[in-house]
Symmetry: D2
Subunit: 427 residues, 4 copies
Amino acid sequence: MEVKKNQIDDFNRDLITNHQMEFEFLSSKLNSRGVDVESIIRDMEELQIAIPSWALGAGGTRFGRFAQGGTPGNLQEKIKDVGLIHHLTHSAGKISLHIPWDIPENPTEIVALAKENALEFDAMNSNTFQDQEGQKLSYKLGSLSHVNSNVRQQAIDHNKKVIDYGCELGSKSLTVWLADGSNHPGQSNFRRALNNTFKSLESIYNHMPEDWSLYIEYKPFEPYFYSTVIPDWGTSFHLASSLGERAFTLVDLGHHLPNTNIEQIVSTLISAGKLGGFHFNDSKFADDDLTVGSIKPYQLFLIFNEIVQGMNDNVGGNPPIAYMIDASHNIKDPIVDLIQSLDSIGLSYIKSRIIDSKSLNDAQLKEDTVLASEIINDAFQTDVRSILREYRRRHGAPLDAVRFFEKNELRSQLIDERGRNNLTTGL
Amino acid sequence: MEVKKNQIDDFNRDLITNHQMEFEFLSSKLNSRGVDVESIIRDMEELQIAIPSWALGAGGTRFGRFAQGGTPGNLQEKIKDVGLIHHLTHSAGKISLHIPWDIPENPTEIVALAKENALEFDAMNSNTFQDQEGQKLSYKLGSLSHVNSNVRQQAIDHNKKVIDYGCELGSKSLTVWLADGSNHPGQSNFRRALNNTFKSLESIYNHMPEDWSLYIEYKPFEPYFYSTVIPDWGTSFHLASSLGERAFTLVDLGHHLPNTNIEQIVSTLISAGKLGGFHFNDSKFADDDLTVGSIKPYQLFLIFNEIVQGMNDNVGGNPPIAYMIDASHNIKDPIVDLIQSLDSIGLSYIKSRIIDSKSLNDAQLKEDTVLASEIINDAFQTDVRSILREYRRRHGAPLDAVRFFEKNELRSQLIDERGRNNLTTGL
Amino acid sequence: MEVKKNQIDDFNRDLITNHQMEFEFLSSKLNSRGVDVESIIRDMEELQIAIPSWALGAGGTRFGRFAQGGTPGNLQEKIKDVGLIHHLTHSAGKISLHIPWDIPENPTEIVALAKENALEFDAMNSNTFQDQEGQKLSYKLGSLSHVNSNVRQQAIDHNKKVIDYGCELGSKSLTVWLADGSNHPGQSNFRRALNNTFKSLESIYNHMPEDWSLYIEYKPFEPYFYSTVIPDWGTSFHLASSLGERAFTLVDLGHHLPNTNIEQIVSTLISAGKLGGFHFNDSKFADDDLTVGSIKPYQLFLIFNEIVQGMNDNVGGNPPIAYMIDASHNIKDPIVDLIQSLDSIGLSYIKSRIIDSKSLNDAQLKEDTVLASEIINDAFQTDVRSILREYRRRHGAPLDAVRFFEKNELRSQLIDERGRNNLTTGL
Amino acid sequence: MEVKKNQIDDFNRDLITNHQMEFEFLSSKLNSRGVDVESIIRDMEELQIAIPSWALGAGGTRFGRFAQGGTPGNLQEKIKDVGLIHHLTHSAGKISLHIPWDIPENPTEIVALAKENALEFDAMNSNTFQDQEGQKLSYKLGSLSHVNSNVRQQAIDHNKKVIDYGCELGSKSLTVWLADGSNHPGQSNFRRALNNTFKSLESIYNHMPEDWSLYIEYKPFEPYFYSTVIPDWGTSFHLASSLGERAFTLVDLGHHLPNTNIEQIVSTLISAGKLGGFHFNDSKFADDDLTVGSIKPYQLFLIFNEIVQGMNDNVGGNPPIAYMIDASHNIKDPIVDLIQSLDSIGLSYIKSRIIDSKSLNDAQLKEDTVLASEIINDAFQTDVRSILREYRRRHGAPLDAVRFFEKNELRSQLIDERGRNNLTTGL
């Protein structure tokens, strides 16, 4: 399936007049307030969000999964799906592979296909939370933290292999989501598990080429329900600090206890030079993995505010942040859901960019809480969709990617190509 | 596999002296305080906890499942597993079937087998949260609450069929866990969904024989993550009240928001005459479905306190409560895990029975908060395990069912019988 | 202190050109989509939010309070503050009194003063959570739920007196926030406490004139920390249903457990015809009582969506909803903070009104989840501030009430009038 | 008021026979399993829990406070209350002062009085969360983290002064609970606030004598409700690590988000050699400050398990842990409430000591989850009250301190001495 330039042009034709009016109205208003709209649009090219290879199929829960037709049956088709998303948004220029779900059997071909789709390979992802067909030792009671050194070694070797795969593709980083944990008080000795984990990570860290980075996720629960080995940013930070300069913390928005102030964690990690990456999604109750920004859009905006202000004043020396969407598409079409997530990210980024940061800083220093909150709110209330559209337009993308996808019945075409009941590896 | 009487006798022989010493020491102490230990032991025969047919295999999460060998491959084997658990505890004299996972193809034979195992059929459970092979319409966007009346009718018909199956087995109740909900603001009109649900339940209610009861579960989230149609006891209560006298609320301990005072909900439902049943499990974060009493044993004790005091003074006219264990056995052997849950339930019940309720009532009326809390705590601190053992002993069960199961390597026998990789239907 | 018409005119002069441009741009866009902007502006006159008499002073926590100067020293000054807020927003045309903090010693005079300030008297609020100077019996262990019937009677009598005060002022409702609860397991018998509460409320209900309504709040914790007598909407609903047609549930946004889907509760109460009123505020952790919409603006919008759609289709027969702001002004100037809250409420209301509800309904019926979420999001992303400004402008209010208050140094004037350290009754 | 030896002897006489029977029964059972009961009793002398000087009066909430008679009117009386508690439990041999509520005007006299009561001075506590009479600059918008360097200096100076007071009394540590935070997004720049805090703490750290330690608390919310400067253990740990070897994290059990696994945090801090101290209390919802062990006794036991196992194997080099009770006595008599808390702590400690740690370790290494959980549960189910009583008895304390206090009407005597309405400084 291919999207032709003229399809997009045709689609945009109907919307362009309204769009231009809105964009001009807004940009003139913002420019008059000292906001440089053009620089925002320019900088958006840098905001490329990786799509994980396991997110193109139907997601599910332990209670089941509802089929979605036309989803990709192999890595090649996954790359094409990401390529399509990028083509429609110019914001998804990266793909993040999960091993063993998406082993690049023929790396040269895979690299070429990615290039064709204007995609780079973002962080590699390892999997030591499932037992694979033919695997010698089980991860039921842990992997990198396991009491048995043979199990640990097996998990370490897997991670090293993932790095090796990544090297062939041009990836420069490994994300470790260590799902290890315990379900029952007494099952695990926390201190031993943490110590084992540190040593295992050390071995993996040392296997990385010198230009690679290690991102360490944290998560308070699931798939284990009494404890996890790396439950919070503090533990990830402690491990990353002990490992070395190229180890960082990765923040997944769904991996926090109720009521956590996530934007403050982001700020602290930036202060300490240890923010490595993000997994975007949204949630109301647990790790719900919903469309980014669909439940707590204000929180997403405040997080981007910390990113923008913090990286502008990057005294801690953080590397460029690795962004990825990590959501589960249980109900909506995966491609559409990902586009909606990209829309949310784009809008939150733009809103955080139009914050009058100089006035905000002055208000804070003058202890003017009322003014400070008015400045933040002013940016959030502003309708910045025309800036996102303009960015897309300038890069040849449709002004409304969701409607374009649906109007052109792209999923039907994919179903025709791939069938209605093919299997997509992933969660 | 069969457990012989002499196996149990042999096992108990080593433990009996210590047991008797402890039991006599405790019962003499309690009797001297006016606690009638014998009546507690007698009443424990009434405390029969149903085991669900879907709990005998390995549980899992959306991230996977780790195999456990020797689990039952059909309903007959499931009944035998429950029979074994009952044989070892004399507390699991009921089995609760889930349709379509455990359709009783030959009811007469199934009833006979259950009888052989001293089991009765507790509440029937319907399933409209998964699409089954060959199902006409999908439950992806709901079942009893669906916007499409054909989907609703299909789900209603399924529930009616489950009632019919139950009639053949001698069950007297239907439990509806309605998983319907939404993931995205706007997806569902809450008022319409609630109204549709009421009408669907009404149709099911009317299909029940006159001596049947309907139990309505509630759950705040999972498998949907923005809303569920029956999120809390208030909604279940509202529906049950509107349906009629034989509709009740069912409390699953894992189906509450963080920090909920569950014991108070139990008390309120008893006050209103609308407490139908319990699904026991334990959790730290979400619906973790862990071993009963393994995380919050004090809460379990306080819940039993409400049950015991409330049902003693049953002005609301609640029917006998339907108890079931609803846990997920992701790590531990399912049979052992269920025995541990039964142990917890037994101990909590006994502790709640030795509360000096007359003195507690006096202390409350005299506004003596210190004394009231001391009375509650006194019961909880007491080690009542010897009373549970004595109950088991008198019914020919082992003094320590977990150790008995492990020492006699019963799981190995089951693996020999059934194989290591057989499939068990359920979650 | 008085705000003159020409002050407002002067202030608006600078902003009017921009405002008109924005308003015209937006309303033309909305009108072209079938949104009747004029009818929204008209209906906003009905959206009058009561200001509680205890919210005009500095709020605090158990750890202390930081003084704010110029706050009102008596009921008369409180009325003037509310009058000022109403004058600046045309959205606060009601005041809600708390007894005994604001006993109207001379009702005729108070009524006249309110009228002068264009204010009506909203629900009366009773207080049985504190011991007042000279009070015979203590509420330490409860009031309407107390084990001692004399304490209950004292609390009942207080509520009756509050109704009597309200009658003199023209109020038509009583809000009962029953703070009763317990701190220690065993302290209270839940069933007795609930039953006592019902009987006490019944006596109060029967004292109300026939055109009065009773609003029953719920709250899961604070000032008691193990249980509260009316912890959730289910309990309030159960009590209100049992009491009669003129008893309703009141929703305070801060009175929920973590992650509660409040908009669904609102919808269910509307379905059942039992939604009485709202106490608006916002919170991140507990009953934080922050500025309305300052933490979870999207939730506020979704709540208004339920209100607007639900009351449009009011089959349950709910009375007009009683709205009040119930926040605590610990840091910001109370008047400014209240204006910010009114802004948030106004914007959320307007956004909920521009939802394309017909298309939303169609999308739901066609099971088009993507479109449904796009419709909701479209309304939320729209910058509707110019509609709020236009409403204010047409009623002679400043286009930006916060800036007007600050630019004209109204607080300084109040400090000059009232002093810097005067005491304001309330929390 | 003085408690005479013969009062205690008389009291114990009635209980001694039963006690001895129970103690002998239990210790013989435990000894036969290899538990050295005598060494537990010996080690309990080391488990001295500090009582804070601000905990002897009635606690309250922002909604009010209910008076309790006979509470101490000055520091001398507070010391006597703690002395009494220690006399009745032999577990409260320390007092922790709060400045400025309890400034030791005459240190020599205060030291002598403490000695007379067998008390040592534990950590000193500073207060920069309230504005004191005559204070130059306000802490409304922060203290050690404030944007204004003069406010920071004032707060630093206060802490230094608290250290100086402590030196005069023989204290060896300072606990900083930094309440600073923000209520409104935008109010505070998180990175600046953290950086200011670090520099302020550095200045305080450098003022401490070389044998002093600094304990840094963390708390997610209250008295600020959007952010706090040190919200979690990770931030405290980061600060303590950066400050130096004598800075540690202090864990207050009430200062966590819902569902936090606190025992794991304790374990991680011990691993890292950074656990300084504990503030004990219990809670169900927020920082409820209830009687220790009254809501989650199992959690308390699991925490003590981590302490006992972790400090036995103290490779991180943690100093002896500073224990304190930090609860609020809103309903119960403060002295009785504190005794109940000490009882809970004692029982949890004893239970954690009788865990068969060798078998537990073996079970963990053999991946026997069932056995591991049985071992933990066995210790928790054991009724160890007779060991606590025996410890008390050997030190001349009553066998039941709560009943002794009440039976001898000690509060009445204190009321006679001090009056019914005297004011006690503190929260």
